[in-house]
Subunit: 209 residues, 2 copies
């Protein structure tokens, strides 16, 4: 009966095949897009029969939607954890932002395919899972907005900043820089990329030397 035996989502056999299907689907869809990816391909890459896909998920779209929720859950948890860790260590909001940039980079480093797929689908309209995406997007951006707002409240950030827009711009900065890193100069280190973005964030761009 749906088990969920101990804590959350771990150890049933069913959960294991679902995981395999997520992993197969995420890379294929990132490479080719949702419509160009066939259920047969997903099943094959997961090493599973086609029937199993439909035993575990109601449809191709549902598989994809649950995949999205799954991935964004991981991301937001990681961002939140980074922000809280700096707070515990007595860092300011700038440090929190910086830690979140790093957490974002680490996430993209580990799950590049998911990130790719997320970006590709985020601004589409007229799609079945549009509402899922909206929810899931807001979850992630809200974490950044929260830190910005707290920073404005305690005087660390200018009260003239536009919180939602700045949050979106920051997310975009990290997202695009990281995807470029992975796609076009994958030999660079994470620290390197992080340093460049930190500099940009802290306005240490103008001024020579």
């Amino acid at each position: 009966m749906e088990s969920s035996s101990a804590a959350s989502g771990g150890s049933t056999r069913r959960e294991a095949t679902r995981q395999k299907l997520y992993e197969a689907a995420v890379t294929l869809i990132a490479e080719q897009g949702f419509s160009a990816t066939t259920v047969d391909e997903i099943a094959e890459r997961a090493g599973v029969a086609k029937g199993t896909v439909y035993y575990n998920f109601a449809s191709k779209s549902v598989l994809f939607e649950e995949l999205l929720r799954h991935g964004v859950g991981l991301l937001t948890a990681s961002l939140r954890e980074a922000a809280e860790r700096t707070a515990r260590d007595g860092g300011g909001k700038v440090d929190a932002l910086d830690a979140m940039i790093r957490a974002g980079l680490v996430f993209i480093d580990r799950y590049p395919a998911f990130t790719q797929l997320y970006v590709a689908e985020l601004w589409r309209t007229n799609r079945a899972w549009q509402s899922t995406l909206m929810v899931v997007r807001q979850e992630a951006v809200a974490v950044v907005e929260g830190v910005l707002r707290e920073g404005v409240d305690n005087g660390e950030f200018s009260d003239e900043i536009d919180v939602p827009l700045t949050a979106a711009a920051l997310v975009g900065m990290v997202l695009v820089a990281a995807l470029d890193w992975k796609s076009f100069q994958p030999e660079r280190s994470l620290d390197d990329v992080h340093a460049a973005l930190s500099r940009l964030l802290q306005g240490r761009v103008s001024g020579s030397r």
Copy 2:
């Protein structure tokens, strides 16, 4: 006899239908993605028979590739123009960057569908038009890189900045902020969005008041 009467590429009938097909394809593909968009749909929206699509373009993919080239051509021209204008007016490289941000926003404001589609396809791998995308991406980013490099050379920017990465991050910042603006708070003015991004660029985020 082949006409092309006066100068180049403007007023033939063929050019007009191609334009109609571009316009139809760009919105449909932005909404649904390339694979989910059918040639019949494109033809119908353009008010043209399906055969006409194939009379004008070798295939669905070729139509898409030419559409990409067409759009990115407009964007780079606009960015270059903005940079040159500030140079003529005696502005520094920071002004050039700021003008390019505005030019980017104006472009996205005018062609949101194209931008959407460009972002969605840019980081895909294993696709037929992969090489076209690489070329076309480099064209756009190169304009920003050029300004950054000139700024480093003449001492306006720190020589510690990482030119390609910073360029990518800036492009990402504008892209994502603008798409968010169009998708989630379309009532805001361009000036408003521009001001927020300017502030972020110039590091006027930290420090209250």
